[in-house]
């Protein structure tokens, strides 16, 4: 960790000009918040800026801040192989949660985004193959949401599940999920 790094980093990212908010550093990683509509542009800026070169996408994950609103958030962790820097980008999403895909910037985003869709129901617009990845086709609900019971809902295959109505996902019906595979 060099002394000049943070100043350098925040100065350059400040030059992006969009509605980027500096959230400060936590445990050695600087975090920035960016509105969903600017995420692709911002990622491309970070990847292609000659002084930054955040060329490695480590991770994308969804977070559910239930019962807070706005409820959902996507978090991106980037790494620069040249500079050995890490950065975190956060994106608070509206309801129903949707955000443009960054698969056009890094191909590795594909599965990370499918996982976030599967677990949290965050829709990634423009994703080439947005299917469930862990749960089976036809599974209802998004299991990692905070209001989804740990043991699932009771049905004939799951006698130990929580009592209650089967989960209704109003946003699910309107989603046109691209049917990849077969």
């Amino acid at each position: 960790m060099t002394g000049e790094r943070p100043v350098h980093l925040t100065a350059i990212i400040g030059s992006f000009g969009g509605a980027v908010e500096n959230l400060g550093a936590a445990h050695g990683i600087y975090a920035f918040a960016v509105p969903p509509e600017q995420i692709v542009e911002f990622c491309r800026f970070l990847k292609e800026h000659p002084a930054l070169e955040f060329d490695f996408l480590s991770d994308i994950c969804g977070v559910d801040h239930y019962p807070e609103t706005p409820r959902f958030e996507t978090v991106y962790h980037l790494y620069s192989l040249k500079n050995k820097w890490r950065v975190r980008i956060k994106c608070r999403l509206g309801e129903p949660p949707h955000v443009p895909t960054v698969t056009g910037v890094w191909r590795t985003a594909n599965w990370h985004e499918r996982e976030a869709w599967d677990m949290y129901g965050i829709r990634f617009e423009g994703h080439p193959d947005l299917r469930r990845i862990y749960m089976w086709e036809g599974f209802e609900g998004f299991p990692q949401r905070k209001d989804f019971p740990l043991r699932g809902y009771k049905d004939k295959l799951n006698p130990f599940g929580a009592e209650g109505p089967p989960p209704t996902q109003p946003d699910l019906a309107t989603n046109d999920i691209p049917q990849g595979g077969r």
């Binding site: 936590a26 445990h27 990683i29 060329d55 490695f56 996408l57 480590s58 991770d59 994950c61 977070v63 559910d64 978090v75 962790h77 192989l81 050995k84 890490r86 975190r88 890094w106 191909r107 590795t108 594909n110 599965w111 990370h112 677990m119 469930r132 990845i133 862990y134 749960m135 089976w136 299991p143 990692q144 740990l150 990849g180 595979g181 077969r182």
Partner: protein
């Protein structure tokens, strides 16, 4: 070849070709676990591959939200079950960063030594399993013999062969038992010659060479784009090792080389792992040499169990502390951390959001195998079906980690 077919075909009749969809798995010896690949075949060529995962999905991340930090250690064991000490270490480091504490130096040496033993054990399996996928059974039998030696060492140290759960937040569960260091030294003496044996088994194996050399080439740009890490990335010529570039624990005190190769094919991925085992032996030897005496866990009553178990029986405070830690856990300051280590498979990251309670608000595991498996898209276009087995084997996915 085409000309012959043209000649043999009756005049005016179209050649009857059709694309075949083939299910490989979920139960298949060469998929290294429960992985189902839906392959679109054009004759022997693979046109498209669609991995279906999730057969082992246990919801580790969801479960973790209802477990205390100490209870999560056994869950991390079950991610990459070939090398649990690495997973334990990655998780412990993340929580320690949130707490703002560091394990005592001796504990750090022990953990690094364990992680390197785990790396050898993980790499040994792929050293043997890749040749086995391609028909050379012998190497696996030899590799398993040596892996058993590591299992014995792990059992001696932790009491368990596989799911060790040896790390704790702020140290390790207990000190090294007497007499284990000479055993490890013995292993370090024997093992380099055994590595030579594997190489000799493979180096002159024409079938293995022709099925791996130049097969499944991933360029450095593609590898970075696909998010590959660990030996898979280094085999494509990218010189990146978290142990050196973002040193954690005591790696900055140790001397080791980062193994890279330029070719990016299946063979170089295999070789990279073989050479990394040599480096791991060097690291283990240095750890044993430099390991100081001292405590094996932090002496912070709110985080760690009393070091002296006897105190629990005769001191009320120690009893309360013990009960409190077991039943309630310990509060972790609110905040978030993304902490990475160089696991045998690549970058293993834990992203933890804490809300100040003894259970994580959100825990995300950045599992290297999950990301590495995606590289199947990048390399298998219009290659033979048989090549795909080699590519899959050489990427070394562990399905338990892919499915979390």
């Amino acid at each position: 070849m085409t000309e012959v077919t043209e000649l043999m075909r009756p005049e005016g009749e179209a050649l009857n070709t059709k694309e075949v969809l083939l299910n490989l798995g979920p139960q298949h010896p060469s998929t290294h676990g429960v992985l189902r690949l839906v392959l679109q075949l054009d004759g022997e060529y693979v046109e498209r591959v669609d991995p279906h995962i999730g057969y082992l999905h246990r919801g580790t991340e969801k479960l973790a939200e209802s477990f205390t930090y100490t209870q999560i250690f056994p869950l991390t064991d079950r991610l990459d079950y070939l090398c649990p000490p690495s997973n334990n270490l990655a998780f412990a480091l993340a929580v320690e960063k949130l707490l703002g504490i560091e394990a005592p130096i001796r504990a750090q040496y022990i953990r690094v030594m364990m992680a390197e033993l785990a790396r050898i054990s993980g790499h040994l399996l792929i050293t043997g399993a890749l040749p086995m996928d391609l028909g050379a059974m012998t190497a696996l039998l030899y590799a398993m013999r040596e892996r058993e030696m590591i299992m014995d060492l792990l059992e001696m140290i932790t009491g368990a062969r596989m799911h060790t759960s040896y790390c704790r937040v702020g140290g390790v569960r207990e000190d090294l038992p007497d007499g284990v260091l000479p055993k490890i030294r013995e292993f370090c003496e024997i093992f380099p010659n055994r590595i030579r044996d594997y190489e000799r088994l493979i180096e002159n194996n024409r079938v293995f060479l022709s099925r791996t050399q130049g097969v499944g080439v991933i360029s450095a740009t593609d590898a970075i784009d696909l998010g590959l890490s660990g030996p898979n990335l280094r085999a494509s010529g990218v010189d990146w090792d978290i142990r050196r570039d973002e040193p954690y624990e005591i790696y900055d005190r140790l001397d080791f080389d980062v193994i890279t190769r330029e070719e990016g094919d299946c063979y170089s991925r295999w070789l990279c792992r073989v050479d990394e085992m040599r480096e791991s032996i060097r690291l283990i030897e240095q750890c044993m040499e430099q390991m100081p005496e001292g405590p094996f866990q932090v002496d912070i009553p709110t985080i760690a169990f009393p070091v002296d178990k006897e105190r629990v029986h005769c001191s009320m405070e120690a009893l309360i502390q013990h009960f409190d830690l077991s039943a309630y856990g310990f509060d972790v300051p609110a905040g978030e951390v993304y902490s990475v280590i160089e696991a045998p498979k690549g970058e293993l990251g834990f992203y933890i959001i804490s809300d100040g309670s003894p259970k994580p608000f959100r825990m995300k595991v950045r599992a290297p195998s999950f990301v590495n498996l995606q590289a199947l898209f990048g390399v298998t276009n219009a290659r033979y079906l048989a090549d795909m087995i080699a590519v899959l084997g050489s990427l070394d996915p562990v399905m338990a980690e892919v499915d979390k």
